[in-house]
């Protein structure tokens, strides 16, 4: 079984400041890792994913994440946030050997960017 822990439920940050949203996972098997973003009253949109290869993954809107196998982490970062980044962010994992298996999500981190 897999589980995902997002260490911060809310993160307030000033505009143009850097941000890191933390994600740790637990799994008995190798996993794929994802970050999704949910803007108010919308569905989820894929930000980035780690499947294999380079542990630093770049996504849309200037976000990036680093896979750390020894620490079982997949933290999301952005060097300079904008007001438009205000949203809920979800970290998720899936079993890499089972094709398109259901995602296991963390509880989410609400990022609030302050002008």
């Amino acid at each position: 079984a897999q589980s995902v822990t997002q260490l911060d439920s809310q993160v307030p940050v000033f505009e143009e400041a850097p941000v890191e949203l933390r994600c740790n996972y637990s799994s008995s098997v190798s996993v794929y890792l994802f970050w999704y973003v949910q803007y108010p009253n919308q569905g989820l949109q894929l930000l980035l994913k780690y499947l294999s290869g380079s542990t630093l993954v770049k996504g849309i809107n200037g976000f990036e994440a680093e896979f750390n196998k020894s620490q079982t982490s997949f933290h999301l970062r952005k060097p300079s946030v904008h007001i438009s980044d205000t949203a809920e962010y979800f970290c998720a994992v899936s079993d890499r050997y089972k094709g398109n298996t259901p995602l296991v999500f963390g509880k989410g981190t609400r990022l609030s960017v302050i002008a």
């Binding site: 997002q6 794929y32 994802f34 999704y36 919308q42 569905g43 989820l44 949109q45 894929l46 994913k49 499947l51 979800f90 899936s94 890499r96 094709g99 398109n100 259901p102 995602l103 296991v104 999500f105 963390g106 509880k107 989410g108």
Partner: protein, 112 residues
């Protein structure tokens, strides 16, 4: 290209009533999923389907029924709605062997 549509977008019903939430996709993705989103819980899987006529339970299936007679449709039925089923429901699709899932806009269901 409509992608994934969910209907209705908003629904208010009463305890004990049967409710069906519809999910329709135009991509012919083989996988379809139903998740519910609740404050403090993130998204939890209710049911999923790998192909037409193949469905499997997720983490929170009790009180829900699904069917998939056609690839493009994956309805979710609450047989006898309860207040604890008040939630936002998301349908998602995906291709076999590819791990990205695509989410619909969601249905906000309130059970009074």
């Amino acid at each position: 290209d409509a992608g994934i549509t969910q209907s209705p977008r908003y629904k208010i019903t009463e305890t004990g009533r049967q409710v069906t939430l519809m999910c329709h996709q135009t991509w012919s993705h083989s996988y379809m999923f139903w998740y519910r989103q609740d404050l403090g819980h993130g998204l939890r899987l209710i049911y999923y389907s790998a192909a037409a006529d193949i469905t499997d339970k997720g983490e929170v299936p009790d009180g829900y029924v699904v069917s998939r007679s056609k690839t493009e449709n994956f309805p979710l039925t609450l047989e006898s709605a309860t207040r604890s089923q008040t939630s936002v429901y998301f349908c998602a699709t995906g291709l076999a062997g590819v791990d990205t899932q695509y989410f619909g806009p969601g249905t906000r269901l309130t059970v009074l």
